[in-house]
Each structure stands twice: as C-alpha cells, then as structure tokens.
Amino acid sequence: MSDAPVLLEMRSITKEFPGVKALADVNLVVRAGEIHAICGENGAGKSTLMKVLSGVHPHGSYDGRIVYRGAETRFADIRASEGAGIVIIHQELALVPDMSITENIFLGNEPRRRGAIDWRLANRRAVELMARVGLHEDPDTLVKDIGVGKQQLVEIAKAFAKDVRLLILDEPTAALNEADSRHLLDLLRGFRSRGVTSIMISHKLNEIEAIADRITILRDGRTVETLDVRADGVDEDRIVRGMVGRELGSRFPDRTPRIGEVFFEVRDWTVRHPISAERRVCRNESFVVRRGEIVGFAGLMGAGRTELAMSVFGRSYGVYESGTIVKDGRQIVLRSVADAIAHRLAYVSEDRKAIGLNLLDDIKASTVAAKLAKVTRRGVLDAVAEHRAAESYRRELRIKAPTVDEGVSRLSGGNQQKVVLAKWMFTDPDLLILDEPTRGIDVGAKYEIYGVIQRLADQGRGVVVISSELPELIGLCDRIYTVCEGAITGEIAREHADPETLMKRMTSTKRTQPR
C-alpha cells in the first residue's frame, strides 16, 4: 500500500482569512486507492483544507500547490474540481427533500437527449448507482421519505454519477446510527477494493482506527504528522495525542458521586405524535432522577429519547395526553417552556445551530437568553449585569473568545456548546437535560464538558444525559435508562453497564424492520 502511486499532493498550502491564518504550510499526500483520514480538533483547518482542494476557495486565494494525478491543478470553482473527479460530501447533506432519489442523484448533471431530460436513462442509471452503494429503494421515492442513513448513500451515489476518482467525506457518520455507520464503513472498504480513493474527516476515532490506511493530523492550521495505521501501530490514544499535542490521562475526570433523594419523577407519561393523532411518541413511561445524580438515556437515533425529553420540558414536542410530573414531592404542570424554566428545568438541545442558539447573537446575549428576568431591573435590561454574568461563565467554562461581545457564530462547535451550557446554567436549574452534549465536538472540549456535567451534579442538581455514544454514557452516568421506540426498556446501574448489555436493551423491543 505504501508504495502505491501518489494521487494527490497538496504542498505548503497557506490560506489566510482577514485576521486569521486558517492554514499555514499544510502538506497532504494521498495515495491512489487508500482511505486517508484527516483528524484534528474543530478549528484545526480540516474543512478549509478540503475547500481549498475542491475549489470552494479558488486558485489564487491561497498559497501553495496542488498536484493531482501528476499535474498541477488550479480549480476556479467546485464544478472544475468535480470535472476532475474530486467530489466532496458535506456533513450537511445537499439533497432536495421533495425530489425523488433519481432527481437528486442527477441534480445539475441530468442526462439529456435533444435538450430534454431522459428520465428513462436517468432511472436506469440511478438503479445501477444505487446498487453500487448498497441502496435498495424505488428510485422514485422522495428523499425526505428515506432515513438519514440512506440519504447519505444517495449523496454517495450522486458522487458516483459524476465519475468520482477522489471521494471526500466530511463527518459522514455524525448523523448516522450504529448500523448505518457500519454499513457506510463497509461500503468505503468496498470502494477501496475497487480502487476508489477516499479522504475522510471524522471525529469518531474508533472508526478512523478501524478503516483508515493513513491518517494526517492537523492542529491549529498546521500539519502535525501523517501516520501509517498498520505500520505505526496507531490506536485511538495515539491519534488523540497528535490532535491535542499530548496525552489525555483519562477521558472522564474522576468523581465520587454524592447521590441524594429522588426529587424529580415522571409518571405514566403519554404523548401523542404532533402530526398523526394515532401515533404515540411514548406510552405510560416513568422515570426518576435523584439529586446529585447523572442519569443516562441510551438509545439509537430516532428511539424517541429527544422527543420524550422535550415533551417533559414544557410540552415543546408532541401533544400531551396524560401523565404527571412530580418535583420535590409536589406535582407540577408544565404547559410551556416558560413554565418549565420557572420550575427550574433546563434542556440543552441536541442541535445547537438549529434550535440551541441564535447564531446572530453574541456570547453575552446568548448566555442570558433563557432567563432575562435575572438581568432586568424594573423592566430594563441591565447591560452591566448581563456582561458580568456572561463574563463569569466565559471564565468558568473556558469559552475561547476574546470577549463576551464575540458573535457565537464565530465560535467553534465546542465553544458554542459551552455557550449553550452557560445559557442553561444561568437559569440555575434543578434538573438539567443534556441532549447529545458532545456531538461534533473535539476531544479537548468534550473532556471539559464532562467536567462541567460532573460539577453540576456535585452541586446537588439532577442531570440527564441523552447520548448515542455508549462509552460516554458508561463513563459518565450513575444510572442509565435504555430507550427503544419511545419506550423505556431498561434501567441499569453504573456498575452493571457495559456496551453489550446496553445495546441489547436498546434494541430489545424492536419490531422486525424491513430489511
């Protein structure tokens, strides 16, 4: 493998944005037929490097040279790079939900005959392409009607429709469940055996370790090293060391839990689906949280964990049907998010950008957004109080920004997540529900967020962590509920929690699925 010919070489790439040097003298060598992983913390320059490669940042806007298939290239735009067979698949899928699979595969690349689109040919080719990526669906199915895992496959089929030679995948498994992820990784292996070269950006180090031939690690816009996975005996810890520049002792800080009484209880919770009246998001579910306890909710994507949590949090999802919430021995009724906040509940949402933050705001406005009353004096916002509050959280959570006047859109994912945490810590909650708190966050920030979660629990609050990463739940939680299809299927104490047990419970009531 190591003596395979070089397909792509990026030499001394330097890219500057006003005020920031995003890439400094980065080198990348990709050999034909390999899977090459690019690792680095958020903000290390991975995406920028790929944008330079694919012509999003056109030739001339960066320094350095790109040699592809033996010749220097100067892509002016993304069409030029696609013409050369370099296709990039972004984390946010570029599909039109209301178009069919075929239409999506050939979007912008439609097979034509005498000016009109030849749909027969398109459908036939779509079926071929879908077979190559292991997708078995009617090509006329609308993309919105298939799961996110299959959508990812449509994206890849779309790439093949363009005669891809070099496939670039940005966080391809971030939104996929375990089964879909496995399928995708198998697919990549299959491509490798057929000679397609792939570049993969991922935070999931276990996947990289399992699939990559070589790994290039970036840190702060510079190349740190390129590792040969087999020859160098690379494992996760080795990658982490490269990414953060040193070893992480333990990924979970030490903690001795001090668990108190049950203070929060959900009983016989039944919620109707917001659109179809027959479906129940959950039916007669009950769970409890104790003071000082970190409770995990383990479940595959789409298992209904988020829906359950949000329905408890002021009925912000679905239609409430029956059930009671008891907090500190008294029954409470939460009709709205405002009610929930008033009863000192907090919900840190799964999707920061879509529903967690107003990206137009700065850090200080975001920090106080869920409890403006706390910085309001006689109806008027107190700018000084707001600034002080935000500043204290910036220090406490080590949010990396020069001042709290910085716009949250300019922060990295990890720091954005810290701002969301600050926003909810500011409401001084008794019960904090964290939905996928570390998704898409780099290793260093993850570690810090674990520390924050533990501190919150140690202050006597109840913390609920929803996650699909089992090691995270096992490392962090005192007790774990497993959820499957809206039902709580198990309750496992920390000492009994291991991935196999959890996975079994997470899939236990699963009805037989088509294929």
């Binding site: 705001d361 008027v380 002080r388 990396k400």
Partner: protein, 430 residues
Amino acid sequence: MSRAKDLRKNLFGGTTSNARQFGMIFTLVAIVVLFQILTDGLTLRSDNLIALFQQNSYILILAIGMLMVIVAGHIDLSVGSVAAFAGILVAKSMSDWSLPWPAAVAFGLLIGAAIGAWQGFWVAYVGVPAFIVTLAGMLLFRGGNQFIGNADTIPVPEGFRVIGAGFLPEVGPNTGYNNLTLLLGLAACAAVAWREVRARRTRREMAADPTPTWISILRLAVMVGAIVFASLRFASGRVGTSFPVSGIILVALVLAYSFYTRNTAGGRHIYAVGGNSRAAELSGVKLRRVNFLVMTNMSVLAALAGMIFVARSAASGPQDGNGWELDAIAAVFIGGAAVSGGIGTISGSIVGGLVMAVLNNGLQLLGVGTDRVQIIKGLVLLLAVALDVYNKRQGRFSVIGGLTRSLRRDTPTPAAPEAQRAPAVTKVPG
C-alpha cells in the same frame, strides 16, 4: 494602542453592526452635503428641513414598526391600506359623528390595534405567513377605505391638522428663534451628554478598557454640534413654523422604541424570534405572543401614520397610503436589516428612511421628475443591500474597511491581533 486605532474602535464601532450604522450615517451626510452643494444651499435651509420632516415623518413612523416586523422574520404589506382605512374612518368620525379630534385620534389608534389584532391572530395563532395575511390585508383595507369613503375625499377639522401640519407655538421673549425648539435642542444636548457619561460608567463597571476621554469628547462634540445646528435651523424658519409636531411625535416614538428594542426583555425576544424561532421557543420565549404583538404594533403605527398624513393633507382621500409599505420596507433594508430576520435597528431604519427622503427631496429641488426619481431610488435600494450582502460575503466592511485602513497607517502590519487568534488555540486542562 494608537490614537487612530482608538478612533476606529470607538467611533466607527468595534462590532460589525456599528460599522454598518456608521456607514449609513456617513452615506446620509454625504448625500446631504452633495445636495447642499447642488441646490445652492436650499437643502439645509430651515423651511426645507422643516418640510422634509413633515413630509417623511409618517413613512419613518411606519419604518419603526416595520423594522420590528422584519426583525421578527415577517413582513407587512398592508401598512398603506391600514393607514388609509384608519384615516378615512377617523375623518368620517369627525365629519359625520362630530367626534372631538383628540377622541378621534384615540379612535384611530384603536382601529389600528383592532386591525393589528386581526392580522396578528392569523400570523401568530393560525400560522399563516405574514406575507399572505398582509397581502390579504392590503386588499381588504384598501377596499374598506373605498367602501367607507365611496372613493371620496373627506376633509378634517383644523384642530386635527395639528398632528400633521402643526408647529410648536411661539412663546416667551422674542429671541429671533422659536423658543420651544431651542429648549428641545438644549434638552437633547443634555440627554446626549448624560448618555455619554453613563456609557463611560457602564464600561468601567464592565471592567472593559475605558473609552479614551478625547474620543468621548470628540463624539460628544460631533453630536452636540449636530443637535445645535439642527435646532437652530428648525428654530429659525418663518415665524409660525418650528420643529414640526409630527417630527416631535416621530422623535418620541424613535426614542421609546429604540429603548424598548434594546433595553427590555420584550425587545430582546423580538430579535430572538427572528434570529432562531425554535431556539427562542426553547428558551422560554412566548413565540405567538411576540408575533402577535409585533403585528399589532405595526398596525397601530400604521394607523398613526395614516392620521398624520390625513392631518397634513387636511383631508382623507382614496389614494392615501398607496405605496407606503414599499417606502417603509426600503427604509428598513437600506438601514441594514436582514431579510431573514434577527438583524436591524430602529436608528438604522430611520437613517435608511432619511437617506431615501433626502434623496427624494434633493432631486425634487433639482427639478428631476418623479419618473427618474423612482429609477434612482430603486437603484439606491438595490445597491445599498447588494453592498451589504457583498461585504458580508467578504467577511468585512469594505467602505468602512477602506476608511479605517487609511487611519491605521501608523500601525505597520495589519496582522491578526492576539485576541482574534485566541479561539483557534485549544488548551486542555489538567
């Protein structure tokens, strides 16, 4: 820190939105100066300034409401029709039911609130897009105006005309100026000075690096200078004229709404809803209430604008309000609001509206016909927003950037300051 850098940071604004606003004010001043030269000094003459405010106060009042609507992520196309509808009812209430004019004004505001509640209901509680609701409202209330007025013109009594065509009375000793206008100017100077002092105190309490004293003084001097100049101009018009009553209503509304949008939770909620409605909802913002209030408020202001126009025209007519929505929307967008919501300021919209107003007035003074005026205004709107979009894509503000670069000459390299680099560096504790 060098002085030039201080100036850049404090006067032109460290943040992008401040820079945007400075750009607009700069444009406004440039246009004023341009026309002042082209019209041989007519533009800044007392009578013209007074007329300018009288002619545009109602559009600027609409712009206030429209800004809030647009920030919340909606649009209101019905304002012109609502203004006309309220105007004709108010005129009728005085001519047919002989309502005294203050009661008629209250009646007009009530009509506005009722219409606003109607539109707000559909937008907030039923979830019909505001574009559709207000498009319907545009037809509905235009038709209502013609139905009630029989497409006729209804005159309004003298007392009522004060809110549109009135001036401050002449009181006190003969100083050669309108005394009340001078007093207003003095009050404004005091307010500006007080604000600057408070801003300095606030910055100190935040433990931020304080604004250098000379900058505060320079800023204060510029503002006080502008106020003194304006109040002398307004006070020295023909006897019987002064700062117009409609202008006072406008200024009062601008101050009140600026304060509301900037310094209260309610105002913050409007920005939150426009910036990311789902996130706002999950932060406990009552989405429906915000949308409802924003739409209601817009119609109340539209009714007020309609009444002011009727008062100024001395009669309510079937053409009232035609095309106002476009002027108000243009003002808001020229003033830097984002089409997708969440961004924009009252002061920006007012400046945007004034840019259009001065342009209109200056071209008219030059004798340019309405056909060409419309073409020019259309191009200005397009260019202003295009420049904004372009600058955003470049990640910097080229007009301002160009200005400040020349001021920065004494700081040799424009290399990234440490502060900006910080987020990229990752440190791990422990």
